[in-house]
């Protein structure tokens, strides 16, 4: 036991005062003081915020997300070495979903890799894994001729999400957003801020943008309110982490510490299509090669409650005979689908669509069925 006790410092984004001013319900999220939902009095609450993103537009402070930049002659080789997707396929201005893996093929974190320039890449990482990720990237890219910078505190990051997100943001920038495809970035003047990075990315299974602006409180608040104001005609609402979670769950987007972790490998998580075994060697590849030859012990499935009850993170999955066979990674009511859904790890023999399992809820086995996931797919643009 150390003689000196350290109090964990609660971290705040530059928009913290704005959230409090808006009377948001605040929670500790991985050491960050973040809004979970905004008040019903201004038309918010998790369900209303979720619905706004599915049908109109919602705005999220995601400044707790981290950023790592790799730049230099061997930046591509470095990114290739530490991530599972094939970054050599990225054109300048393009982004891809990927992950940093441990040598055993399990997850350090999932990331979005953006190619910003000829030899410049930006990795957007999770809040709870910022320091771990930066250390990992730095330590494993030492032999490459490229500079690795931790830029997590250099931006306020705001996500504008929903079918009307493009209309809202277009009112505030000179960049032609209609020319920006999903998972591409552009730069332009936004609210008077020159050369602002805007990516058509998000974590809601909806169209949308994530913007990167200077991290001072004054600029952050000014842009936040400008977006809300521009979004008024489209019914824009501020959204908290509660809706962010239910939105990503409907879209089966993984959350670190839940669907993916340092004990779950790529095949178990079902992220095969983002893992390019044919590209040059990368950390985790040989373990995954070996794992591929063996039978999976568990696999991620989508579940829908058949009987009355709500599955929650960590609940046990039982077979018909009541034997424990797996666990829920994320479970919640799905506000848009109006069903109670969950993601869970079960043995492959229980993973076929239509299979019935039980979820242990307060000591009772409550029936659920394996269903196709993602539970929600956004309608294709006409």
């Amino acid at each position: 036991m150390s003689a000196v006790e350290t109090t964990p410092v609660v971290r705040k984004t530059a928009l913290n005062a704005v959230h409090r001013q808006m009377d948001a319900k605040m929670v500790d999220f991985n050491g960050w003081d973040m809004p979970v939902e905004y008040p019903a009095a201004i038309g918010c609450g998790i369900v209303a915020e979720h619905m706004a993103v599915r049908t109109g537009v919602g705005i999220f402070d995601v400044s707790h997300m981290g950023d790592i930049r790799l730049a230099g002659p061997e930046a591509l080789a470095a990114v290739q070495h530490i991530s599972m997707n094939d970054a050599s396929r990225l054109a300048i201005g393009q982004a891809q979903y990927s992950a940093l893996l441990y040598p055993q093929g399990t997850f350090v974190d999932d990331v979005i890799v953006h190619r910003l320039g000829e030899d410049e890449y930006l990795l957007v990482i999770n809040a709870g894994t910022r320091e771990k990720d930066f250390g990992w990237v730095r330590d494993n890219t030492r032999r490459f001729d490229c500079k690795v910078e931790h830029l997590s505190d250099d931006f306020t990051q705001i996500a504008i999400q929903g079918p009307r997100a493009v209309d809202v943001l277009q009112k505030l920038t000179d960049a032609d957003l209609s020319a920006v495809k999903f998972y591409w970035v552009t730069r332009g003047t936004l609210c008077g801020l020159k050369n602002t990075l805007m990516g058509r990315t998000g974590y809601t299974a909806e169209d949308g943008f994530e913007i990167y602006i200077p991290p001072d409180e004054e600029t952050s608040a000014r842009v936040w309110y400008a977006i809300l104001d521009a979004g008024k005609e489209f019914g824009a609402v501020p959204c908290g982490l509660g809706a962010r979670n239910t939105l990503r769950l409907e879209g089966k987007l993984p959350l670190y510490g839940h669907e993916i972790s340092d004990t779950i490998n790529v095949w178990e998580a079902g992220l095969d299509r983002f893992c390019k075994m044919e590209k040059p060697d990368f950390i985790g590849r040989s373990a995954l090669e070996k794992a591929k030859a063996e039978a999976l012990k568990k696999t991620l499935v989508g579940l829908e409650m058949v009987e009355r009850g709500i599955a929650r993170d960590g609940y046990k999955i039982l077979d018909e005979g009541g034997r424990e066979i797996g666990y829920v990674t994320s479970g919640s009511p799905a506000p848009f689908l109006k069903k109670n859904i969950a993601l869970a790890y079960v043995p492959p023999e229980h993973a076929a669509i239509g299979t019935t399992v039980k979820i242990e809820i307060r000591g009772q086995g409550v029936r659920a069925q394996v269903v196709p996931a993602p539970f929600y797919k956004r309608p294709k643009k006409v």
């Binding site: 979970v36 939902e37 998790i46 709500i310 919640s332 009511p333 506000p335």
Partner: protein
């Protein structure tokens, strides 16, 4: 928020009237957010003061319901099974249970509306 003075309150944020009608407070529904599920005991069940008698779930959280007083359940608000959002709309009207109260002294010992209001504001002020 004005809390009705025709009933008593617990520090676990339930209310009970002298005739044994039980619900959760406006503060409780506000803290929970969108309520999506209420699980209540059947008529005839004995509930005991301070012990859990059911569950309320919002999108985000699961919370136990604690009995403000002991007694036998005589009625259950079945409409909450299909329309739990009534609790968000008016927590002081959306009752959950009616019980035959065993000992009225248990209710008398609970918080008055004014004391509960004070308790909530102190709790929020930390």
């Amino acid at each position: 928020m004005r809390y009705p003075t025709d009933r008593k309150y617990t520090k676990e944020h339930e209310w009970i009237t002298t005739d044994g009608t039980i619900g959760i407070t406006n503060h409780a529904q506000d803290s929970l957010g969108d309520i999506v599920f209420v699980e209540l005991p059947k008529v005839g069940t004995e509930i005991n003061a301070g012990k859990t008698f059911g569950t309320v779930e919002s999108v985000k959280a699961v919370s136990d319901l604690y009995a403000p007083a002991s007694g036998t359940v005589t009625a259950v608000n079945e409409s909450l099974a299909t329309a739990p959002e009534q609790v968000n709309k008016d927590a002081h009207a959306a009752w959950m249970l009616k019980i035959k109260v065993k000992d009225p002294a248990e209710i008398n010992a609970l918080l008055s509306a004014a004391d509960y209001e004070k308790f909530v504001s102190e709790e929020a002020g930390h």
